[in-house]
């Protein structure tokens, strides 16, 4: 993080001996997003606060399940969690998140990218001291940055903090917490998703469905939408597109979405490789190759990064060459399978048409050459004493 102009007095300058490894799950992020959208559109006032449940194993922490919390406002305007609400809600969640048993690992609210502020302290202290969650972390969601996530190279608009009690001077902090030498320290995180969670996120990310209201609220009372409601519902869901000209069927949409996902991933791989290349080309030339190069380059090369790039390159040949014959055969088989299925699908696709053709044929047959078919049938019918009309005779019923 680039240091902002005035240093945040609530952030500690001391560095951690060992930073906790935090795995953040998508549900936490999307839940905060949901909360913000609801809050805004329903014209609700006041801060957004919530608890985060997860697992803590030493310095390894997961943040998996969030829930919104009710707050109370003290006379001085400071914000605290409503303790009755918090305790009851926590118990309810822990009842249904039992295997493994999730614990409270932190809380979330909104805040500036520059870090926690005075107003965040009361809840942090409440959790750590009154409620006994000494290692509760703070997730600050930066609404202001949310619209720039795409440009920001996909950085999520949030920061995690752990706290430490320090004996750094607290002179420059005002308000009731001035005597608490509690400081925040930024903690890195990774985004982790379980297999099912990943599929669900992918599902949600891909589809076009935005949250435009369902029209026909009033009209649908009289719509007898059962017969062709299917197609209509689909069109409504896909929503924003123009009508027929651009209409693709579901398969085509899926196919395109799949190709797009691949293209994006390849593009991403390309930018990562470019990044490595530009990093390498920005390095000073080696003094081993050129005697005139001074031995101490400025700035000195980062050997750790260079070593891991080297390791990556060294691994590349092992990835493909070894069993390429087996691989090639497998790919060929897969191709044949896919083509065969394509053929089956094409064939079965025309089955209804063929059947219809058969029926028409039979009818035409009956008209042009009535004597042999209808004659025999008439005899049969008469024998069984059945009704007059003969529905359809011929090869295909």
């Amino acid at each position: 993080m680039a240091a902002p102009a005035p240093p945040n007095p609530l952030l500690t300058s001391s560095t951690a001996d060992s930073s906790p490894a935090v795995q953040l799950h998508p549900l936490v992020i999307l839940n905060i997003s949901d909360y913000i959208t609801r809050h805004k559109l329903r014209g609700q006032k006041g801060p957004l606060v919530g608890a985060i449940l997860g697992l803590q194993n030493g310095r390894e922490i997961t943040m998996e399940v969030p829930f919104d919390c009710k707050y109370v406002e003290r006379e001085d305007g400071s914000i605290l969690l409503d303790e009755v609400f918090f305790k009851e809600r926590l118990e309810q969640y822990q009842t249904v998140f039992k295997s493994p048993q999730l614990e409270l690992v932190g809380w979330f609210t909104t805040g500036q990218p520059s870090g926690p502020e005075q107003r965040h302290l009361p809840i942090q202290l409440q959790l750590q001291t009154d409620l006994g969650y000494e290692s509760a972390m703070l997730l600050l969601f930066h609404i202001a940055l949310a619209s720039q996530t795409a440009e920001a190279g996909g950085k999520l608009p949030l920061t995690l903090y752990e706290t430490i009690w320090t004996n750094e001077g607290s002179m420059d902090i005002e308000g009731p917490e001035r005597n608490q030498p509690l400081r925040f320290r930024e903690v890195p995180h990774t985004v982790e998703a379980s297999d099912a969670e990943m599929i669900a996120v992918d599902f949600v990310a891909r589809g076009g469905g935005n949250a435009t209201a369902v029209e026909s609220e009033t009209t649908s009372a009289e719509t007898k939408s059962n017969e062709n409601g299917k197609g209509k519902g689909k069109a409504k869901v896909e929503g924003t597109e123009e009508k027929d000209e651009l209409y693709l069927n579901h398969e085509e949409e899926e196919h395109i979405a799949g190709l797009q996902a691949k293209a994006n991933a390849v593009r991403m791989l390309q930018t990562r490789i470019d990044l490595l290349l530009s990093y390498l080309s920005s390095q000073p030339p080696s003094y081993l190759d050129d005697a005139t190069t001074p031995m101490s380059a400025e700035p000195p090369p980062n050997h750790e990064i260079l070593r891991s790039i080297n390791a990556l390159v060294a691994r590349l040949p092992h990835l493909s060459a070894a069993n390429s014959i087996v691989l090639e055969r497998e790919i060929k088989e897969a191709k044949t399978d896919a083509q065969l299925l394509e053929l089956i699908a094409t064939l079965t696709d025309v089955l209804p048409d063929i059947r219809e053709l058969g029926q028409h044929w039979a009818q035409a047959q009956a008209r042009t050459a009535p004597v042999p078919t209808l004659g025999t049938l008439r005899v049969d019918k008469r024998e069984f004493g059945e009704g007059e009309a003969i529905e359809a005779g011929g090869p295909l019923r």
């Binding site: 599929i199 990310a205 935005n210 896919a338």
Partner: protein, 327 residues
């Protein structure tokens, strides 16, 4: 006081679009008006769509998956708009397993009441509009017990929808396997096709469940399921994708889904031979049924082919990108 204004100011700068995000609004009076009218009373097919929010979907899918081989269940909060159930959130119930469900509902009831009370206290006034449960490995449809549970709910808690998720197939197919259903009134006979035959997905019902499936499939129909997300969700999903794009490239769906597609092929073979028998001489199957069968075959094989093609694309892309150049 000063503190409160800071919070609000900050919340006002948002990525929230009142039109695109309209489903996140809620009007208690409007819902009451709809509830008084009960337009679904006069039309057994009244509801056609279910739209599920990103969070609700994520919560339900992960719950179903966490249950493993055990059936789990929970409730969905939301509202009704026209012929659509809008599911805004979901929560778990402390209930597991099929047999216990009917009795356990009483235990779960207390939990539900308390849960909703707190939700209302914290500005989430949505009522329960349905329940979800998992069918690990046997597809999305309603069993006999499910049908009676749902019918009971529709009698006393309507509007109410049943959602079923198959976590196993979600994993094997690499996409969320989900279905939504409503039962018909006791005395109602649907015209023509059976309940699930018009489902979007297609069903492979294990042999041991076949009887249960067949016995009740005419008692309900399925609704179209889709999801919705907010503008802010969309922005965040872009960022999230940056974290898991590697999975998109390295996945090998052909291998991962082999079992699943084999089962689908078997089902296709069964459908074809079934239609063949129905078409054979001396068969008493009416023409319309045969039409439906042929259509189902076409639909099924199309679906299998599409999945196979997607898998093939993944393999080809990987081959082109990662194969070392000939040296």
């Amino acid at each position: 006081m000063e503190s409160l204004t800071t919070w609000e100011l900050e919340n006002a700068i948002g990525l929230v679009d009142p039109i695109r995000d309209a489903l996140y609004t809620y009007s208690a009076s409007q819902q009451r008006a709809i509830n008084d009218q009960k337009p679904w009373r006069t039309n057994p097919h009244y509801f056609q769509n279910v739209r599920i929010s990103a969070v609700a979907l994520l919560k339900m899918v992960t719950h179903a998956r966490a249950g493993g081989a055990i059936e789990v269940m929970g409730l969905m909060q939301g509202h009704v708009q026209g012929d659509t159930f809008v599911v805004t959130d979901a929560f778990r119930l402390p209930v597991e397993g099929t047999e216990t469900r009917v009795n356990a509902q009483d235990d779960a009831n207390e939990y539900m009441v308390k849960y909703l009370e707190l939700a209302r206290e914290n500005n989430q006034p949505e009522n329960v509009v349905g329940w979800y449960h998992s069918h690990p490995g046997y597809g999305c449809w309603l069993s006999g017990i499910d049908v009676s549970t749902q019918a009971l709910q529709q009698q006393f808690q309507d509007p109410f929808v049943a959602v079923v998720i198959d976590p196993d197939r979600t994993i094997s197919a690499g996409k969320v396997e989900i279905g939504a259903f409503r039962t018909f009134p006791e005395d109602y006979k649907p015209a023509g096709e059976a309940g699930t035959s018009d489902a979007d997905g297609f069903q492979t019902i294990p042999v041991d469940k076949m009887q249960d499936f067949g016995a009740h499939s005419e008692r309900y129909y399925s609704l179209d399921v889709s999801h919705f997300k907010s503008s802010l969700d969309s922005a965040l999903l872009v960022a999230l994708w940056n974290k898991y794009w590697i999975g998109t490239l390295s996945a090998n769906p052909l291998a991962a889904n082999r079992d699943f597609s084999n089962r689908q092929m078997k089902e296709l073979a069964r459908l074809i031979s079934d239609a063949e028998t129905a078409h054979g001489s001396g068969s008493k199957v009416p023409g319309r049924t045969l039409d439906a069968k042929l259509e189902k075959i076409a639909k099924t094989s199309r679906m299998v082919a599409v999945e196979e093609r997607a898998g093939m694309v993944a393999t080809l892309v990987k081959e082109r990108v990662f194969r070392a150049p000939e040296i």
